[in-house]
Structure formats: structure tokens, C-alpha cells
Symmetry: C2
Subunit: 338 residues, 2 copies
């Protein structure tokens, strides 16, 4: 049994982390929730009992075996050393350490073996990267993937609980014909969409696109894999979708082989009913663990390429679930001593 | 001056056709609006006067020089011969005749010259095709385009005025926590998105994707142009957006050259402010004639490719405006005799 801390427990991902630990019967001996000062003392439910939100200090880590961080990069950076000194394993949902060489970046179904090299910190990949790779990594056994062109349809949950509230509130205002003043997101999101609001680098990509490109190479251990991404925020609450074009180096697999391979992969569900025109949708992905994959077809523009469409819950497989699965995989691999 | 008929005058596109004719001071001698039986006798405004909606008969065409059709393929097919016999020019917004060899498929800024060969019927391309081509055709003068990978973010207006009402009504129900029963669109659209609801063909593409692929080749007169498309319906009222990856045959143009070339092209507005993270958005495209193009960057995954993002009003440049521009271009070219 493990003493587990949730840093950012009142946030959109933190809330799901508590829920996922409970749903999956993670072997929790003690649960400790941490949040910002104004939440300290408030109570959160876990496994039928209420526990008080605590203030995070360096001493907190002495009481933790595992710390699940989801409070932004700054918080993760501030506490890494305290966590490491206390021998606590930090599973970090922020982008703070993802590209560091001794930090495994892990989607357990894909590269659980990378956990072995950990040095006290494991990073959860970007939510869009996770959903992309759940859809494409299974196909690698059917042939080497050479290039990926992906366009995202990202839910507002990726910008946190307040952004979800903002979508709801703006939509009400819009329907009443009232003016919208964005506060969390930079542009109106009600009945609108926009290029992801992370800074644009000198190559012209935004931060989110850059993460998808480079995290993919790291997770798949293939620096030569060519990836381009266009990341778009859409007025959806919590499931991301992605339109993915995959170019194989050699012959592309048959549709049947792709469906079978995807269906057998843990955490993936094939939703590909051509006759009924039923494919992955955020409404079906929201609240569920599986990444849905469908609209699978041979790309008519390139004899080596295929097109597909995926939806996955940004807060679950895109964040909280992946973090908990990392902890589970570490236990299985004997990497978490108690 | 020309006697102009609008077939489908009460629909989402028909309404805009009347407005666009008025805004652009199209030389109208008489306006005739036609709609389904239950609208006959109702009045519509045009240039400050009301006129009655009429019932369409074969004789109607005797009184028309130009008939702008936007009432679906079946209606267009039913009246083609009557229109042709009466010497009326049919400008058809449906997909009924688009791929017929003697029917010009025209975006006037791109292939107005194709109007010369018309045989009484001119087709307006699919809305998603128009927005795609407005963004890419200008770039052809910078180098031959070899392949296009496009993913759409399509507004509900493409499914008509009732679908727009459905989005509004479903959103209200959703926010009140009430059950949603889709009636016009096949799946819930409030805070959801889905693969375009046109039939899937044996290649696995839906009808909308197939149109984008094949209409592009026809309009650009390049059967060898490779195109793949993924068409997605999003909860947006009236502007479509598209994430477009363009592969050039030779060297790709510089960002600056692309911005300049696009900015000079009539009907295109470059919205590409990297510092402010301001790019094309449906909220800025809705109600405007121009197709907005931005987030222009060199694709890091392919040394010959570029990525960009476009938004355009589906009802205007995607339909009504393009139809009226076709009529204007025919007058300019002396193809409409009065």
C-alpha cells in the first residue's frame, strides 16, 4: 500500500486523479490532497471518506511514496528537489521535465519499459500526444511509420477547470445575445475555435504543436519520425479529437489488419461503422478510459498512407488516467518500493 | 439589367443570395423568389421592397435571365431542362451537376475562364472545396502543388437553416441538463463534433470528402493533384475552418512570399499575427466575404511542405457569394446577354 499525494487536487485533472485512483482500486494507504492556500482546510471525498486539503511544504514529501503533480510547470519545478530528497516518486502532468534525458515520458501501454531508467521523476506526456500515440503506436507493428500529419480538435479542459466554466458561461451569454469578454482563454470560445493559445516559436508552430512533434519522437524512440501538427481549440468540454494522416515507409496495411491490431491494443476501442456513419466522437469518449479510433481508410493521395480519426478523454487518458497507470506499471515492474 | 430568380429563397443560402445581390448592387431588373408550397405567398424584402414568394413552374423560367438554385440536388435536377429550354442561365449550388463535363465548376477568382464553355448550367463548388481552394490556388504561382492533406472544422450552416436552429436549441437543452434528441443532424452537435454525415463510399471516404478531392482536381485542371480530406462537423454556426498541409513539387516558397501572394489575391485576407497568436477564426470570418488565411509555416516534417489554417463563411464565399460572383463574371465576360 502506498501513501499518495495529489498536488493540484481541486483542478480539472486533480479531481480526476482522485476519482481514477478510487475507480481502479489503487493500493492507497493514505491519501493527501494539496491545493492553493485558499483551498487548504476544505474537504475532498476519497473512497467514502472526507479528507482535508493540506498546504504543500518540503516536509509533505516525507509522508508520501508517490506524488501526482498537476498544478502547472512552476509548481512542479519548485518541488522537484524536495520530492527527490524525500525519496518520493513524482509523476508529473506538467511539461516542466518532459524533454529531460533522465525523465521517462511514458504512456504505459506503449513504453512502460522506459520507467526503469527513472530518477525520481516521471513525466506524463501532453494530452494531445497521448491520444495521437494511442491511435498510431499499435500500427507500428504493421510497418514502420515515416510521417504523421495531425490536426487536433481540442477540448477546453486542457486549459483547466476555469476554461470549462468559461465555455459554459460564454455559451449562455451568446445565446442570450449578450457580449462576451474572454478571461481564461484569449479569444471567445462559445461557437468559435482558434489556433492553440500557446506561444508561437520561430518556426511558426505553437507550444502545443511543438510538444506533439517532439514528445512523439521521444516516446517512440525514433528521432527520424517526421511529424507535423496543427493544434486547434474547439468548443467541446473534455474530449480531444484528432484527424491523423499516417505515411508508412513500405506497403500500408489493409484496413482489416489495422482494425484488428487497434482493437487488440489495450486502451483503444475501434469505432468504425461505415454503414451507420458512426465514428469516434467526443461525446462518446468523454468520461471513458479508452481512446476511440475510426474512420480508418486508405489515403487516396498517397499509396503508402492511411487516414483515421480519434477521440479520447483529455482529463482521463490524456492526463489523470495515464498518471495513475504509470504508478501501477511501476508497482508491477517492482520500481516502487514500499 | 437582369431578371433574377432565387430557388430555395427561404433557406440559409437563399436568404444570403438575396442579401448579397443587394449588397453588391447586382443589376437586377426583377427579383423572383421561389420556395416550397407552404412559403408561397409570404413576403421577402429586397432593396427596400417586399416581394411575394412564388411557386416554381416550368413557366417561371420564361421570366428569368438567371436562376440561382439552392434547394438541393433533387430540385436542381427536376428543373434543369425547363431552365435550359427557356434560355435561362442556371447557377446551381447543389452537387447535382458539378462533375458533368459540360458544366463549369467555378470559383471566379480562380477559374472564371471556365465559364466560357457553359451550356446553360454553372455549378458552385462545395463550400469546403471553395474555402480550401481560395487558400491554396494563390500559392500555385509560387510552385506546383503536388499533394494536399486537409482536415475541416465545418459549421452546421452547411446542413441548412434547420441545422443552425438545432445547434442553438440543443445547446440550450444541454446547458439545462435536459436530454438531446437529434432531428436534422444524425448525432448530437451541442458540445460535440463528428465525421461529416454524408454516406461513406467503398473507399471509406464520406461524400463531402470525396467532393473536396474531386472538385479540386476539376477546378484546378490538374487530375494528378493528390488530395486527401477528413471532413468534420463542429458546433459552430456559419464559418468553416480548414487545417491544410500543402506539399510542393519543388522548393517550397518562403513564408513572406506566401503571405504576400495570398494578401494580393482577391477574396483572401491574411490573418497571421504570430506575436499576438492571432489567426483565422470562424467568429472573424462569419458575415464577411473574405477567406481568412494564417498560421502559415514551413512543415517541419517535410522539406517541400507548408501548413496553414483558413476560415471562411460557408454561406457567403462557400455558397451565396460565389454564386453571385459567377453571375457577375458572366456579365463581365459578355456571357449573359440581356
Amino acid at each position: 500500500m502506498y501513501s499518495v499525494g495529489i498536488i493540484g487536487a481541486t483542478g480539472a485533472v486533480g479531481t480526476e486523479m482522485l476519482r481514477v485512483l478510487e475507480q481502479r482500486k489503487f493500493p492507497v494507504s493514505e491519501i493527501h490532497s494539496f491545493a492553493s492556500t485558499n483551498s487548504v482546510g476544505k474537504e475532498l471525498p476519497f473512497c467514502g471518506k472526507l479528507h482535508q486539503i493540506e498546504e504543500l511544504t518540503a516536509e509533505s514529501f516525507e509522508r508520501l511514496d508517490i506524488a501526482l503533480f498537476s498544478a502547472g510547470s512552476e509548481i512542479s519545478k519548485r518541488w522537484r528537489e524536495a520530492s527527490r530528497r524525500a525519496g518520493c516518486v513524482m509523476i508529473d502532468n506538467s511539461s516542466a521535465f518532459r524533454m529531460e534525458q533522465d525523465v521517462p515520458l511514458v504512456i504505459p501501454e506503449i513504453n512502460a519499459h522506459d520507467l526503469v531508467g527513472h530518477n525520481g521523476v516521471i513525466a506524463v506526456p501532453n494530452c494531445s500526444t497521448i491520444i495521437l500515440l494511442m491511435a498510431i503506436a499499435p500500427l507500428q507493428k504493421l510497418g514502420r511509420i515515416k510521417r504523421i500529419v495531425v490536426s487536433t480538435y481540442q477540448a477546453v479542459s486542457g486549459a483547466g477547470a476555469w476554461a470549462m466554466k468559461e465555455l459554459e458561461e460564454q455559451t449562455r451569454l451568446f445565446l442570450r445575445g449578450e457580449a462576451i469578454e474572454p478571461t481564461i482563454l484569449p479569444h471567445p470560445i462559445a461557437f468559435n475555435l482558434f489556433v492553440h493559445n500557446s506561444a508561437i516559436n520561430e518556426s511558426g508552430y505553437n507550444g502545443e504543436e511543438w510538444k506533439m512533434i517532439h514528445e512523439t519522437k521521444k516516446i517512440l524512440h525514433d528521432e527520424s519520425m517526421a511529424v507535423t501538427a496543427t493544434c486547434i481549440r474547439v468548443p467541446i468540454f473534455r474530449a480531444h479529437s484528432e484527424s491523423i494522416n499516417i505515411e508508412f515507409e513500405g506497403e500500408r496495411p489493409s484496413i482489416e489488419a489495422m482494425r484488428e491490431t487497434l482493437a487488440q491494443f489495450p486502451g483503444v476501442k475501434v469505432v468504425d461503422e461505415r454503414g451507420a456513419n458512426y465514428f469516434p466522437m467526443p461525446k462518446d469518449a468523454a468520461g471513458h478510459y479508452d481512446v476511440l479510433v475510426g474512420h480508418i481508410r486508405h489515403d487516396i493521395s498517397n499509396p503508402h498512407a492511411v487516414d483515421l480519426f480519434a477521440s479520447g478523454d483529455q482529463l482521463l487518458k490524456g492526463a489523470a488516467l495515464d498518471a495513475v497507470q504509470i504508478a501501477e506499471s511501476m508497482i508491477e515492474q517492482g520500481l516502487l518500493t514500499k
